[in-house]
């Protein structure tokens, strides 16, 4: 039996949402602030101001797979990631933080922020384990919602970015 391409699938995929249809910067900032207060400390403030990231940056992210598919990516300077890890661990922080400790703690922050972002998205979605390293590439500049903040005066970005390339423009 042969099937006819009705164009239905194409039409459905044409309606694929981009992140800016689903959330705004204020939501991301609010999610991040809540995570910071809980994980990093009650007195810790995120100031919504842009800053120049240093050359040596580290990113942590989780992937969200569902009606919207992409990543929630935190990027900051390596030294700031270390300070964040120390703040997260508080008195449980070892005297010398190994790279593994930093990756683990910074990854957990992405996990918590990513979980809250996922909760704000429509429909059931799956969350990956956190990853740390070089941020995934932005596949579609139109499918990015990014917040620039300062933590203890140091720049940090939170980018919620789609994993799929833009759809071809129909003529």
């Amino acid at each position: 039996m042969t099937s006819t391409d009705t164009g239905q699938r194409r039409r459905l995929s044409d309606s694929r949402p981009v992140i800016t249809d689903l959330m705004d910067e204020a939501t991301i900032l609010s999610v991040a602030e809540e995570a910071w207060i809980s994980l990093v400390g009650e007195e810790e403030v995120l100031v919504p101001l842009p800053g120049d990231l240093p050359g040596d940056v580290l990113s942590s992210w989780v992937d969200v797979v569902g009606p919207w598919t992409g990543s929630v990516v935190l990027t900051t300077g390596r030294a700031t990631a270390e300070a964040l890890s120390r703040a997260l661990l508080r008195e449980a922080a070892p005297e010398v933080l190994e790279l593994e400790d930093i990756e683990d703690a910074f990854g957990e922050i992405a996990n918590v922020v990513g979980g809250s972002v996922k909760a704000a998205l429509p429909g059931p979605s799956a969350l990956s384990l956190p990853q740390v390293g070089h941020a995934p590439l932005v596949r579609n500049p139109g499918d990015v919602c990014r917040v620039d903040v300062l933590w203890r005066g140091e720049p940090l970005t939170i980018s919620v970015q789609g994993a799929l390339p833009p759809l071809p423009v129909s003529h």
Binding site: L89, E108, N111, V112, G115, L129
Partner: protein, 127 residues
């Protein structure tokens, strides 16, 4: 009282362990469900297990199901502590046998309140 903290993040294990130790718990930890089952199989049975959802090797839901299949482990209270906050996920965890659900991020006070609800605050702390 005893608690088993199960989370693949060492940082989160340290945070939860610190809260529970301050409350007077004797705490052990595990990096995933499989490691946690090894602890239980040693005969170290906790009053409380805090369980992350997304972990490598054996995730939190698989761990809850494994515990529920062993009558000898029935008296252990299982609390999911996870960033999975969708209603359907919460229902799945409770249906599998978890007793309580705590969404990350949380504060130490919120954690303590959950334990109080479960009747799991050590007596000297609850007073």
């Amino acid at each position: 009282m005893r608690a088993l903290v199960i989370d693949d993040s060492r940082a989160m294990r340290r945070i939860v362990t610190s809260i529970l130790t301050d409350l007077g718990y004797e705490v052990r930890d595990a990096g995933h469900g499989g490691e946690a089952l090894e602890v239980l199989n040693e005969g170290w049975l906790p009053d409380l297990a805090t369980i992350d959802w997304n972990m490598p090797v054996m995730d939190g839901l698989q761990f809850v199901s494994a515990v529920r299949s062993n009558p000898a482990w029935r008296r252990m209270t299982m609390m999911m502590v996870t960033s999975e906050s969708e209603h359907t996920q919460i229902v799945r965890a409770l249906a599998a046998g978890a007793h309580e659900y705590m969404i990350k991020p949380f504060t130490a006070d919120a954690f303590r309140d959950k334990l109080a609800l479960l009747g799991l605050l050590p007596q000297e702390v609850a007073l």
